[in-house]
């Protein structure tokens, strides 16, 4: 009986044993961090905070295009050089930040840091390269799943001008020029906007020294350029085939205690309503947990779901949220990513907070989160 009780009460820990870690703010404003892990791998993450340069109708999608171009490196062969060492590079652009990650064998840490440094150097691209990349971006747009458009719609409806999607569209990418991208790059990768974290089988002290050497010379932000263009609101945005509906509930930044309960409630509803997607992008400014579906009438059914049925989903919600929290941290690269995003924009955030939120998730907190999806403050969108 004792054994069973322990089993019922026990919970897996997602934290590695306490290993060396260090954080430092360089004089120019770049935040650097290193943490040792036991796995035979290293992951270097650079987060470029974009809160000081919010998306506008004029600039939407241009940072996304910049991301595509800048990760090619100065000679456009950065991927090739990294992969020759067994390293891989990935990048993502959101409303609040651009995140670039290089992961691979720990013996090639220097190459990974050099690759990151290269990305911060002033960009020089031709119009021909930009036009070609616009075609690739259009292919990416065509592959976007329905829920991404509903997610964007919910953010727009919930946050207005502060919720403009960073993805962009064909009309938006048309105005990109070498000068505009150079100006955006200078802002995006200026020292005060940068956070660089290294997690893996590394020695912390020499790693911090290498990071300091690489980024202490990164310049501050230059003069901001105003971007203007003819208004494009009525131009097609490549989303004509998307239909569906969504409910969004606003949550705070990453260190807000409400994220895990809200995700648990969303996951629980997704287990009850097949086809319902739960979407959340870690954010600095208030973000949103969005439930999106292509099935008509599901959001109404969610709102009308009896209290007792909602609360009965607690176990499912807790279990799936557990998997989600674990998945954010269970490998060095995933942990490095969420750690760096937190450092870049959520003061005092540590990934362990998410595990704590999970352990403190009670039926009453879950119930409160559930009810937020049907409250009058929730954002509702419908595309038919």
């Amino acid at each position: 009986m004792t054994t069973l009780c322990a089993l019922l009460l026990g919970a897996a820990s997602f934290q590695s044993p306490s290993l060396p870690r260090e954080r430092q703010d360089l004089p120019n404003g770049v935040r650097i961090y290193a943490e040792q892990r036991l796995e035979p791998i290293v992951s270097v993450v650079m987060v470029a905070n974009a809160v000081s340069q919010p998306e506008t109708e004029e600039t939407r999608g241009l940072r996304h295009m910049l991301e595509h171009l800048v990760v090619k490196g100065q000679d456009r062969l950065l991927d090739r050089r990294l992969e020759a060492k067994g390293l891989t590079l990935t990048a993502t652009t959101t409303r609040d930040y651009m995140v670039i990650q290089i992961t691979g064998p720990q013996e090639h840490l220097d190459d990974a840091i050099a690759g990151m440094k290269e990305i911060t150097l002033p960009i020089s691209v031709t119009q021909e390269e930009i036009d070609k990349e616009a075609k690739i971006l259009a292919e990416e747009l065509a592959l976007r799943p329905f829920f991404a458009f509903l997610f964007d719609s919910a953010w727009s409806a919930g946050f207005g001008d502060k919720g403009i999607s960073a993805f962009g569209d064909e009309a938006a990418w048309k105005i990109a020029s070498p000068e505009i991208l150079k100006a955006i790059h200078a802002q995006q990768f200026s020292a005060p906007n940068l956070t660089v974290a290294v997690v893996g089988r590394v020695n912390v002290e020499p790693t911090m020294r290498k990071l300091s050497e690489a980024f202490r010379g990164t310049p501050g932000s230059g003069p901001r350029r105003t971007i203007t263009r003819a208004f494009l609101r009525d131009e097609p945005r490549g989303e004509a085939m998307v239909t569906g509906e969504a409910i969004g509930v606003s949550v705070g930044g990453l260190n807000d205690g409400g994220i895990v309960p809200q995700m648990a409630a969303g996951f629980a509803l997704a287990s009850r309503f097949p086809g319902l997607e739960v979407l959340y992008t870690p954010s600095f400014a208030p973000g949103m947990v969005v439930l999106a579906t292509q099935d008509q009438g599901v959001t109404i059914q969610i709102e009308r779901l009896p209290e007792v049925e909602k609360n009965a989903l607690f176990r499912e919600g807790l279990a799936i949220a557990g998997a989600w929290v674990s998945g954010l941290q269970n490998t060095p690269d995933r942990y490095a990513r969420i750690k760096a995003i937190g450092m870049a924009g959520a003061s005092g955030f540590d990934p362990a907070q998410l595990t704590r939120q999970l352990s403190q998730l009670t039926p009453s907190r879950f119930s409160a989160a559930m009810n937020r999806f049907s409250s009058v403050t929730a954002t509702r969108v419908e595309r038919r």
């Binding site: 069973l4 026990g10 992969e83 020759a84 891989t88 690739i136 990416e140 065509a142 085939m241 799936i320």
Partner: protein
């Protein structure tokens, strides 16, 4: 109340199914991978699909997999999920064409509970008609993204699946000789073998007859329901450890894995045809099928794309040099021993295998299910040694020349 119910469940070894008169039970395969410092016990239970499944069987196989966790004759669905989620990760079933995989995580000291859950779900799932119907209905309603269709291009008609189909398929597939259980993590060597072996010892189900029905031909989906067309070149399976398997695996890396592969360089960077290209190794009972995928907005000339694709790939192979071989070898080693974001090894429709402990156990299970001589992925990495550039190019050319070509067109509405 619930504790006492669960306790009795855990302490009373169950043996579903009666011994066959005159027959002796055949043991299931159990593989143990102790890793004492891990904070959990992980089970990967594989079940081989029966031979010669037609389209109705294939759809029923997916319905069966998705119905398993909805309850057993020993423990109801809610308690199953509750017990199986104690390590913070819920149980799940991953259904592939030739096998399905039940994944369970338990906290430390969870071997007894884990083996009881594995026994219950394998030997006595309830498969109630209303559950099967609901699962089939939900699967039929599912709308898939282009990428999901590309990975799994079959048009399975879940609405045609009956409870009898699922029940019959269960009795044909869930038999001791078709089961491989890999258990790992916080356990002692011999613990699961003894515990689960004892529980399953008397399980010896009758050999069922196949339902007599008119077979249905398996068809690919007719359209992606989007503006994107999917193009695919699909090669012959690579059986781990067989001659040339190492060279063929490296050829797939050079052709389709990562950002400096042929597909990415030619079709994304040079032609700007695609955002998403994919080279993947898809698990079947015959080994890993190499698949080269290209997703591109529809044009008026879609029918011409496959020959152009094949020709452009073959031309690129001629430009490969020692750096190509070194890169492929390094990335393959990374995938199997460290971590590689663009790993081509898939064992679910959700994404490639990673280097998590769970996925490492899945590797062991799959290699055992197909009867490979190579017991784990680390040893598979050794088959990449001694491959030279001419050998790599020869296998790549062969793979592409012999590949089956197919494409799934965009929706006519989107053109």
């Amino acid at each position: 109340m619930i504790s006492s119910v669960l306790l009795s469940f855990v302490l009373a070894p169950q043996s579903a199914g009666q011994p066959r008169p005159g027959g002796s039970p055949r043991p299931i395969t159990i593989i143990e991978v102790p890793e004492p410092e891990l904070d959990r016990v992980v089970f990967q239970a594989f079940v081989r699909a029966p031979e010669n499944m037609d389209a109705r069987d294939q759809a029923a196989w997916v319905v069966l997999g998705n119905s398993l966790l909805r309850g057993t004759q020993i423990i109801n669905g809610g308690d199953f999920m509750r017990l199986g989620s104690q390590a913070g990760i819920p149980p799940r079933v991953i259904v592939m064409g030739d096998f399905l995989r039940i994944e369970l995580h338990l906290p430390r000291r969870g071997v007894d509970v884990g083996t009881a859950l594995v026994e219950a779900v394998i030997t006595a799932p309830s498969l109630r008609p209303e559950v099967v119907e609901e699962v089939a209905r939900n699967l039929q309603r599912q709308r898939r993204s282009v990428e999901q269709i590309a990975i799994n291009p079959l048009d399975l008609r879940f609405r045609d699946v009956t409870h009898d189909d699922v029940q019959n398929l269960y009795t044909r597939a869930f038999r001791p000789e078709n089961i491989v259980v890999v258990a790992g993590g916080a356990l002692e060597r011999g613990q699961v073998r003894e515990n689960l072996g004892r529980r399953m010892a008397r399980w010896n189900p009758e050999t069922p007859a196949r339902l007599q029905r008119r077979p249905i031909i398996i068809r690919p989906v007719e359209t992606t329901d989007s503006s994107v067309t999917i193009f695919e070149l699909s090669g012959n399976p690579v059986y781990p450890g067989k001659p040339q398997s190492g060279a063929r695996i490296l050829a797939l890396y050079a052709l389709g894995a990562g950002k400096d592969c042929t597909l990415w360089r030619v079709f994304r960077e040079e032609k700007a045809w695609a955002y998403r290209t994919e080279g993947l190794l898809w698990p079947t009972k015959n080994g890993w099928v190499p698949r080269l995928l290209l997703m591109r907005r529809a044009t008026a000339n879609d029918v011409d794309v496959i020959p152009i694709m094949r020709e452009a790939i073959l031309a690129d192979i001629e430009t490969w040099d020692e750096a190509t071989l070194a890169r492929a070898s390094l990335l393959a080693q990374s995938s199997l021993i460290r971590e590689f974001e663009f790993s081509p090894w898939w064992m679910s429709s959700d994404g490639p295998l990673t280097r998590t402990f769970e996925d490492r156990l899945a590797w062991r299970g799959y290699l055992s299910v197909i009867g490979a001589d190579v017991p784990d992925e680390r040893l598979l990495a050794e088959t990449f040694a001694n491959i030279d550039l001419p050998g790599l190019k020869e296998q790549a050319r062969k793979m592409v020349e012999e590949a089956n070509a197919s494409f799934i067109p965009a929706s006519p509405m989107a053109k």
